[in-house]
Symmetry: C2
Subunit: 235 residues, 2 copies
């Protein structure tokens, strides 16, 4: 059973932290293979046109030089659209490309270490699928937690156990920073997450990268969060 | 034919740049497979006992988290021995471990970009096997150039063409920063390089990592440079 968010509020946790939670309602994670025959740059451009508030560049197969080239190619459009740009794993590439932040997993630099190297205001996300790790990540300075795998997915075969909505809510209830659900997210599932958990948003790979119409995909993934915001803002 | 170093001097180029050239007479590059069944940490400890002035941590198979753990394990001993510690490729790991510098290749961050991200005084090395690339690297802010493959080698199967002593000297003559020869270096070849080129030193992988006696290997790799220094200091 998914517990009701505490304090009877459906507002995402961390909503007070400078509007970051609002900007994490949807993180579009790149995947060159899923975008083919299109390019990551083209799909990101479409996602930004549809109002995607955050992009995470991820390419485990790219060299640092290649990753930097793509990050730089995405920096202008994301900045122009007022969207956040994160780079997966490589803090050095993120800093070099003047990205807004880095997303770290268990094989990457520890959050506390990245926090010391990064300049003030630089955003750090950390993957965590259980409350203890999520709390530790927040304590070490993570600005948000990416939580999953929520639903089974094919785009990240190395993803861990499927934790479901219950597991997601346990993490979201455990930390004071925004929690973003990842893993097998579709627009229907985004709606379910928005209604039934206190997650701040969702991160998607295939749902946008492999979509026949990435703009439409982004709009339908955004809709549940706008609806939730409308509900919480009613007197 | 190897050209004689200009100005009739056998002093390494870059010898004036704060003593860096002296500290680059020998860079011991790590290789976990070559060190087996020993550990990289043990071989580095032996190399430091024998006076190795610089260590470069390289492990293309390690995650960032693993690389950081090894870099931290090497930071104390290298600092205590007064030796430089470089990390291959990962500027972020190098910064996080408080290494003295990073070594960059063609797949890594461009030198100019790394220079902007790194703090003042942080050392940046760049691989370059031709004079034009070496000059560009120095212009972008590289503190030294790693030049090779000088001799055929098995420890870096992705290394480029074998350039020989002629190719090495062309690079060494082209740049104002120290040039370190890499690729198939043995103590006999180090002696040849010290006598016949203006390279500042040599970088070795297998010659120390896979040596039956790493201390002895370091001593014999250092010897030609001490002998050259003796010659150039004669009135």
């Amino acid at each position: 059973m998914v517990r009701k968010p505490e304090r009877g509020s459906l507002a995402p946790r961390g909503a007070s932290s400078g509007g970051l939670a609002d900007r994490l309602r949807l993180i579009v994670v790149t995947d060159a293979a899923a975008a083919a025959p299109g390019t990551v740059e083209d799909v990101v451009a479409a996602a930004l046109r549809a109002g995607a508030p955050a992009i995470q560049l991820r390419d485990k197969n790219a060299t640092a030089a290649e990753l930097l080239r793509t990050a730089r190619a995405l920096r202008g459009p994301t900045r122009a659209a007022g969207a956040l740009l994160f780079v997966n794993d490589r803090l050095d590439v993120a800093l070099a490309a003047e990205a807004d932040g880095v997303h770290l997993g268990e094989d990457d630099l520890p959050v506390a270490v990245a926090r010391r190297v990064a300049p003030p205001g630089f955003l750090i996300g950390r993957s965590a699928d259980d409350p203890a790790l999520a709390r530790r990540s927040a304590d070490e300075g993570a600005d948000y937690v990416g939580c999953g795998t929520v639903y089974p997915t094919s785009t990240k075969p190395d993803a861990g156990a499927v934790i479901g909505l219950d597991g997601l809510e346990r993490v979201a209830a455990a930390v004071p920073v925004p929690v973003v659900a990842i893993g097998g997210i579709t627009s229907a599932r985004a709606a379910e997450i928005a209604v039934r958990t206190s997650a701040a948003g969702v991160a998607v790979v295939g749902a946008v990268m492999a979509a026949p119409d990435p703009e439409e995909a982004v709009r339908s993934l955004r809709a549940p969060w706008e609806a939730r915001r409308g509900r919480t803002q009613r007197p």
